[in-house]
């Protein structure tokens, strides 16, 4: 009895909802934010829908970044694509090359006549997603950069100053040695996202090129070059530190074991995305967390430069009606407003994408209340980006990331030395880039 009541009521509400929605233009938004981030993402759509009655944004969770992207591509091939899809940064090369399939954001805004000022955005974020002429191609939604977290209690137990995170790799080694030898923890440091944190960001942070043609921004004919002496030296060290037990490898891709190793106080230092901050704080129940910038080698000229971002942007797929595109433009405008951005930034740890949102967060006293929360922004904007530190853009980069993980694993298992591993990454990576050039050229 109760059940049928409920069913009838929900059926009625579905009918009411759909007839209500029919009067509005529906905008489909596919995203890859699960769990708590997913709720925050859906809340953004709800908030936008409440501000106006012309459009209704319908977000739907489509799994991991890779699944969301391939899902949207498959849908496009079948002519059933959503209006907006969230694509991770390494998919940028693929999306950019698909010229008939996407509507660049700058064009979308111009077509819809929405007042839109590209210079309001943080250059370090937006630079990653512009074409060589400086036009914005996709809407930065969630961008982050890797930073350093450390366990203050372990530092104290090891006889280190709990208020001083290591700033150079020499200090990371020294501190780790002290942590391990004093018995304060089993391992010194661990890292998530080896390719992103210990190769791509490492290169930018030391102002070393990742590839030719401004890290691939200049065109499809680019080649990888991150097998230089600075990177080789770092990988050599990582392999040695892993061997000595100072560093713990946490798996390919995201390095899923790094978080648990830090939370269980097995490792004293963690390198992880700034967007992981909420998660780190929530899991660090038995100890105090400190935050610092990524370490660097102080004898390398130009280090520290600035770090680059990761995360995802929103791409507009072609094929939507004029009304839908106008709705998307309005929605993007809403997303980049200072209040919405500041809230999103503070809730999630992702970077604010506009200067105004950053300033608003400052004015609200957010950074005083949450020390370390602005480390990511300071680190990203430490210096004017150079050709080596604006970002990277290569075709087939999703696969190249896998190659990086594989060669790193071969290095750690002793099958190859650091130079050999990075040379192999470059060789295999370049083959993938050539394949992409063939298919898209």
């Amino acid at each position: 009895m109760k059940f049928s009541h409920f069913a009838a009521a929900s059926a009625a509400s579905v009918i009411a909802l759909s007839s209500h929605a029919a009067a509005q233009t529906q905008i489909d938004w596919w995203h890859a934010m699960g769990g708590e981030l997913g709720e925050k993402t859906e809340a953004l759509a709800t908030a936008f829908n409440a501000t106006q009655s012309e459009f209704v944004v319908v977000p739907s969770y489509r799994g991991s970044y890779a699944e969301t992207m391939t899902g949207a591509i498959a849908a496009f091939r079948a002519g059933e694509q959503p209006d907006i899809v969230q694509v991770f940064e390494v998919g940028t090369g693929t999306m950019m090359a698909a010229q008939g399939a996407i509507v660049p954001v700058y064009q979308l805004m111009a077509n819809a006549g929405v007042d839109f000022d590209p210079s309001a955005f943080l250059p370090a974020v937006v630079g990653y997603y512009t074409d060589p002429e400086g036009n914005m191609l996709s809407m930065p939604f969630n961008s982050s950069t890797p930073i350093l977290y450390y366990n203050r209690n372990i530092f104290e137990a090891a006889g280190l100053d709990p208020n001083t995170p290591p700033t150079t790799w020499a200090e990371v080694e020294e501190f780790s040695r002290q942590i391990v030898s004093s018995g304060a923890a089993e391992c010194g440091f661990t890292s998530r996202w080896v390719s992103w944190a210990q190769l791509e960001n490492f290169s930018a942070w030391h102002n070393q090129p990742i590839g030719t043609l401004q890290n691939g921004f200049g065109g499809l004919e680019t080649e990888l070059t991150f097998n230089g002496p600075v990177q080789v030296r770092h990988w050599e060290n990582l392999a040695r530190w892993e061997d000595e037990g100072l560093y713990r490898y946490a798996g390919p891709g995201g390095g899923n074991d790094a978080g648990p190793a830090f939370y269980s106080q097995t490792c004293g230092i963690l390198m992880e995305s700034s967007a992981g901050r909420a998660g780190v704080m929530a899991n660090a129940t038995d100890f105090e967390v400190g935050i610092g910038m990524l370490p660097y080698y102080d004898d390398v000229d130009g280090a520290p430069q600035n770090t680059i971002i990761g995360g995802a942007t929103l791409w507009v797929l072609s094929g939507g009606s004029e009304e839908e595109q106008r709705g998307v433009a309005e929605f993007f405008n809403f997303l980049s407003s200072p209040e919405v951005q500041a809230q999103w930034h503070q809730d999630t740890g992702y970077l604010p994408i506009t200067q105004a949102a950053y300033e608003l967060s400052q004015a609200q006293g957010y950074y005083e209340a949450n020390p370390g929360a602005d480390t990511s922004i300071r680190q990203m904007t430490l210096n004017e980006p150079t050709e080596n530190s604006r970002g990277l853009r290569f075709g087939n980069y999703v696969q190249i990331r896998t190659v990086i993980d594989e060669e790193f694993e071969r290095l750690l298992s002793g099958a190859v030395d650091a130079q050999g591993a990075l040379d192999a990454v470059v060789e295999r990576g370049n083959a993938l880039i050539r394949e992409f050039e063939d298919a898209n050229g």
Binding site: I73, A97, G100, D257, N396, Q399, T402, R410
Partner: protein, 295 residues
């Protein structure tokens, strides 16, 4: 003796009755297979905006690629180990249960349970148990045997992990069939052999095993197909093909290249090769191996 044939007047009726099955086969099996064959000759961008016919280039690239040859090697090792482990353990368990008189039924029920666990869940379970940081097994191995388990770095550890996880999943299934097979062997044969002075091992090798061979053969086919095509979830949940492709089996590589790498041409070519492999395998097994099986 000749069987009496029934003659149906309506020529269309048999086709009509077959139609649902044919349509389903056509839509869900033949059409996608044809698509894969077509795609394997093309090179296209991810969105399918433009494509070029490249003939056998996708296949040539595959056979030239050390990664693909490695995947073949890994698959052979993985399949053989998993099949041997899954068949061996389940046979031992079935023999044990077969000797029990009263408690056999209870043990059977307990041993069948793992089959109800979804492959992805099983994968996560093994991921937890063997996790080098938080898992119980590495801890036990380190403490009691001094072995430093790390399947994130050591290829052989990773292979052992996926073989154990994949076999575990299949043991229940094999076990059930073995139990049924054992029960259909007449006790009188074994008793006669026992009276003639044959010991338990002699009886097993000369009577039980040969009489069990139809079951074993059937399970062999099912298990090989299982290791080749249905172990995707186990691999994805535990090692994701790593470290350095040490557990990247053929079917997982199809997924990685196609769905993660968006290289549809190569992925399609790999599917076509796998399809050919299944056809050959089935043919060989039913044509040649079955003849030698004692019934």
């Amino acid at each position: 003796m000749q069987t009496k044939r029934t003659i149906f007047g309506n020529k269309g009726l048999p086709y009509l009755l077959l139609a649902p099955q044919l349509i389903i086969t056509g839509i869900f099996f033949l059409w996608p297979a044809a698509q894969a064959v077509r795609q394997s000759f093309l090179r296209e961008d991810a969105f399918g905006l433009n494509f070029t016919f490249v003939g056998l280039r996708n296949y040539e690239r595959l056979l030239d690629s050390p990664e693909y040859l490695n995947a073949i090697k890994v698959t052979v090792i993985f399949s053989i180990s998993t099949v041997i482990l899954a068949l061996g353990v389940s046979l031992v368990l079935a023999l044990a249960v077969d000797r029990m008189i009263r408690s056999g039924r209870a043990y059977t029920t307990l041993l069948v349970w793992p089959y109800a666990v979804a492959p992805a869940v099983a994968g996560i379970l093994w991921w937890f148990i063997f996790n080098p940081t938080i898992g119980i097994m590495p801890y036990v191995l380190e403490t009691f045997f001094g072995y430093d388990w790390n399947h994130l770095l050591t290829p052989s550890d990773a292979m052992i992990l996926v073989v154990v996880a994949a076999a575990w999943k299949q043991i229940s299934y094999n076990f059930l069939f073995f139990v049924a097979g054992l029960q259909s062997i007449p006790n009188s044969l074994r008793e006669a052999a026992a009276i003639d002075g044959a010991g338990p091992f002699k009886r097993f090798w000369t009577i039980t095993l040969p009489l069990l061979s139809p079951t074993t053969f059937f399970l062999l086919v099912v298990n090989i197909v299982y290791t080749l095509f249905e172990t995707f979830a186990v691999i994805d949940a535990t090692t994701e093909g790593g470290p350095a492709q040490a557990t990247n089996i053929l079917v997982y590589k199809v997924f990685r290249d196609g769905f993660v790498g968006l290289n549809f041409g190569s992925s399609a070519a790999q599917s076509v090769i796998l399809m050919g492999l299944v056809i050959v395998l089935t043919f060989v097994q039913f044509r040649f191996v079955e003849r030698r099986v004692t019934y």
